[in-house]
């Protein structure tokens, strides 16, 4: 049994403590936003925050995570409101989306410790592999997220999930209240 805090909730994992945190998150906690791409730290698709640091969860054992606070993409914000999430969408820095969660968390960790990173610092902090090739937009997205984080800019990248039909009707004239 291994106890840790995941996305703010205390969880106890009945799993081999030698198992990588990645598989505890994916297969025990069903937090499937954390992706498997290589298992050896090459791709970064499994990046999560452990006590605020962006770590590749395939290289961290469940035992090593004991007592720590883990944040996955599902916990970065409850409504896609984290500046990195908004900026990634606003800059079109998302294609297939497989590497996106890991990149978002690596960028969030960078901005938490450096509110105004240079392109070189962003390049070093995000070693994640993206094969669709969003790199040219990634620097711009992280810099935009940094400006938003510093309250120097506002961004509207993506709407929150779970919009109520009544709210949608208020916002979009073309939609009407469903008749019952």
């Amino acid at each position: 049994m291994t106890d840790l805090v995941v996305n703010g909730r205390p969880l106890r994992f009945a799993m081999d403590p030698a198992a990588p945190l990645l598989w505890a998150l994916r297969d025990a906690a069903n937090l499937t936003g954390t992706k498997y791409g290589c298992g050896v730290g090459d791709c970064g698709a499994c990046t999560v925050l452990v006590d605020g640091a962006a770590l590749r969860s395939c290289l961290v054992s469940l035992a090593d995570a004991e007592g720590r606070e883990v944040v996955t993409i599902e916990g970065l914000s409850h409504d896609r409101s984290h500046p990195v999430q908004q900026a990634l969408a606003a800059q079109g820095a998302i294609q297939c989306g497989f590497c996106t969660p890991g990149i978002a968390l690596a960028a969030a960790a960078l901005l938490a410790r450096n509110p105004d990173p240079s392109p070189a610092e962003i390049g070093t902090a995000i070693p994640n592999l993206c094969r669709c090739g969003v790199y040219p937009r990634l620097i711009a997205a992280v810099q935009q997220a940094a400006r938003v984080g510093r309250r120097a800019e506002r961004v509207e990248g993506v709407p929150p999930p779970g919009i109520e039909p009544a709210d949608a009707v208020r916002a979009v004239p073309a939609l009407s209240q469903p008749r019952h």
Binding site: L88, A89, G157
Partner: protein, 752 residues
């Protein structure tokens, strides 16, 4: 568009509302009744519910290219919808979604003996084949060519029916109603779609539907956010976008798998007892050619495989050294078949001005998602959650392997985490279903990275010589290319469409010339004589599809050679090319524009710039690109600092998505130029992990500049085009910078 061969049917959607199906069937094959919700699977459709939500079917695999958004945008613009009322649904496989342009392009892959019978999209034989085979594959940039027309027609029909419903209420002529921003309007009256949908569903759609005069284009102003932002982005930023490996079912267990050396190994001994020590183990399944372990989590399943240490018996294992010998021998002495030519039948006699050879190693896709499939077999019904570019072929293959009737086999289309044509293969789906049957529970099979590297079917290796004669006036008197490479497209066709094993596919196509495997080798330049000869080579390595396919191989040879030829003639590479492009002024324009856009410095010795250009064709649509690469010469790895391209791809429907594809294509080309190469020893790939592929990272990313040329031509998919000129542009830049000519891909992979 063949409106007469298609018919639109309006009907009631489930729960009230409008459903528009479009049928590719001939009139006499139409179902006699308008489709109900249950029958919607027989037609492609668009539906509008009573709230006004417009749902567009997406019959193509979303793998990052943005097709989900593009089709929805096409429907929304034709309909006159507000983008915020538009939803999408992945469509189930259906004959109504037959991809005719791709079926036409792949004619040689399925009917080698009667190639002349069915080679045009409008051809009746072709339609019959595509429909009876439910051929809806996503490949070769055919999505817009296949679906823009049908999507517009369905939306136009829906628009007309909504107008008719409104006109009846208002007692006006429906033709005088207009639709925009999600409303039908007539003078000062207006009504939302939701209020009209139910009435509209009782009306007959006009045939042909009244299309808007302007085809869909991007209204976004420069510097403004996209008017049609990607619909998949929101779910992709919070982890809720599900891939096949993210499906969770009640009672589901996780499987890991090991295969033997390439290509034809059989499972030998393994220590089954050792697996018992692994906690969470559910079972062990031994296939003829693989061993799988099943556990309550994937990592435990993988541990069980490690401790069982399976051995495999291999036959004729793949060896890179022997493949190189085979290509050498074929290039030097093999029997060639002419696959393309232009101009005079015979080339000029005498010694060519220049002859050079180029070598291309097998290349890996490097998709980050590994092969994954979730399978459930219960009550005689087989369900598959799978990302596949060819869903019906995958469904048939799995149904046959398990001897389950096709009508009891359901495939839920899942998106792919990159593919780059990797998901045109589906052996993992068969494995997942077999494992699910053996353990009697829903199973999710995920290949380890090591298995993905081992079992991917790479872009095949090739060896190419090009010889050219330059006339005294600088014109091209002769251009003769000879390529030794497997008939890879035909081989793939035998696997996908013939459902053959990889080795039986190779046997079936041995010694057959394959024009698709040599595509792009005939240069765009005007030559008195030009020819392409293919020496088909049979290798023990299965050849697969990979983004760009032959263009990524042939453009490297042609454009490296063109650079060498220009230098041999003492000419500046850009004007040398333009002078030869009398037959293709649009490509000449791309070159002129990129010269200005990239501040081309002439590429003389000491320059750090290199140039390459390419064109591709799909039916009436064509795409062109000219690219300048800038390198930072040095002792270490090659560093590319800038890629600047002028690109012409016809009418652009969604500018931001087009730019994403071009940027991504350039970077994918960078990965193929500097890495992605595979070497094999005793049937085992040496590049066991992603790091070994030397793929570009954010810190390596060159500055990218794209000059998208305005055009009104038919839309050409920009997904593959940009990658072709990257490798030769870099090779040419390296030559300019260092005087060292690299003629092997990946660059620096062979001693100079």
């Amino acid at each position: 568009m063949q409106l007469t061969r298609r018919r639109l049917i309006g009907g009631a959607a489930a729960g009230g509302g409008l459903l528009v199906a479009w049928q590719l069937l001939e009139r006499d094959h139409l179902p006699p009744l308008a489709p109900t919700a249950a029958e919607a699977q027989f037609g492609a459709w668009l539906k509008i519910d009573r709230q006004g939500v417009v749902t567009v079917a997406v019959p193509q695999l979303e793998m990052g290219q943005g097709i989900t958004t593009l089709l929805a945008q096409i429907a929304a613009q034709e309909l006159g919808a507000d983008w915020r009322q538009v939803a999408v649904e992945p469509a189930p496989v259906s004959a109504a979604f037959a991809n005719l342009p791709l079926a036409a392009r792949w004619t040689p892959l399925r009917a080698p003996l009667v190639p002349e019978l069915a080679d045009a999209p409008g051809d009746a034989l072709l339609r019959r084949w595509a429909r009876t085979h439910t051929f809806t594959a996503t490949a070769e940039g055919t999505s817009l060519a296949a679906y823009e027309g049908p999507c517009r027609e369905a939306a136009a029909a829906a628009r007309a029916m909504l107008c008719m419903a409104a006109a009846a209420q208002w007692d006006v002529r429906w033709e005088e109603c207009e639709v925009g921003d999600g409303f039908v309007t007539h003078e000062d009256r207006r009504a939302g779609f939701g209020a009209l949908a139910e009435d509209a569903a009782r009306l007959d759609a006009p045939d042909p539907p009244p299309l808007r005069t302007e085809p869909p284009t991007d209204p976004t102003l420069a510097g403004e956010p996209s008017a049609f932002p990607r619909l998949d982005a929101p779910a992709k930023v919070d982890g809720s976008w599900l891939f096949a490996g993210d499906v969770r079912l009640p009672g589901m267990v996780h499987a890991a798998i090991r295969h033997g050396p390439l290509d034809r190994a059989e499972l030998g001994t393994f220590d089954r007892a050792a697996a018992a020590q692994v906690s969470g183990l559910v079972g062990v399944v031994a296939g003829k050619r693989w061993l799988a372990a099943v556990a309550t989590d994937w990592w435990s399943a993988e541990q069980a495989l490690t401790v069982m240490a399976p051995h495999f018996r291999s036959y004729d294992p793949v060896q890179s050294a022997r493949m190189t010998e085979a290509l050498d021998a074929a290039l030097a002495r093999g029997e060639a078949q002419r696959v393309a030519s232009a101009g005079a039948e015979e080339g000029p006699a005498g010694r060519p001005t220049l002859t050079q050879r180029y070598d291309i190693a097998p290349a890996a896709h490097g998709s980050v998602e590994t092969a994954s499939c979730t399978a459930r077999l219960a009550g005689g019904r087989l369900e598959l959650w799978l990302a596949t570019q060819a869903p019906e072929q995958a469904r048939i293959a799995v149904a046959r392997a398990l001897d389950v009737p096709l009508r009891h086999t359901v495939l839920y289309p899942m998106p792919a985490g990159g593919s780059f044509d990797r998901r045109l293969e589906h052996e993992h789906a068969i494995e997942a279903a077999l494992i699910a049957r053996e353990v009697g529970r829903p199973v999710q099979l995920t290949w380890s990275r090591w298995q993905e590297q081992l079992r991917l079917r790479p872009r095949p290796p090739a060896a190419i010589t090009i010889a050219a004669h330059l006339a005294a006036d600088g014109s091209l008197a002769g251009f003769a290319a000879r390529i030794a490479t497997p008939p890879a497209a035909l081989e793939f066709g035998e696997r996908l469409l013939g459902n053959r094993t990889s080795w039986s596919a190779r046997e079936a196509v041995a010694d057959r010339a394959d024009p698709l495997a040599c595509e792009g080798l005939l240069p765009p330049y005007r030559a008195a004589h030009a020819s392409v000869d293919h020496v088909p080579v049979t290798l023990p390595l299965p050849a697969g599809r990979l983004r760009g396919n032959a263009h990524g191989i042939t453009c490297f040879a042609v454009e490296s050679f063109t650079d060498e030829l220009a230098r041999a003639a003492g000419r500046e590479p850009l004007s040398f090319r333009i002078a030869l492009l009398g037959d293709d002024p649009r490509l000449a324009l791309c070159l002129q524009r990129v010269g200005r856009f990239a501040s081309w410095d002439g590429g003389a010795p000491g320059s750090r710039q290199g140039l390459a250009c390419h064109r591709m064709q799909l039916g009436p649509a064509s795409g062109r690109i000219a690219l300048v690469a800038t390198v930072e010469p040095g002792a270490g790895p090659v560093r590319v600092t800038r890629l600047a391209a002028s690109v012409e791809i016809g009418r652009v429907i969604n500018r931001d998505i087009a730019l994403q594809q071009i940027e991504g294509g350039l970077l994918y080309g960078l990965g193929l130029a500097l890495g992605s190469g595979l070497e094999y020893q005793d049937g085992v790939v040496r590049q066991a992990r992603l790091r070994d592929l030397d793929l570009p990272r954010l810190a390596d990313c060159p500055q990218i500049g794209i000059d998208l040329i305005e055009s009104t031509g038919p839309p050409f998919d920009p997904g593959e085009l940009p990658l072709a000129p990257v490798a030769p542009a870099i090779a040419n830049a390296l030559f300019a910078a260092s005087g060292r000519r690299l003629r092997a891909l990946p660059l620096l992979s062979a001693p100079a």
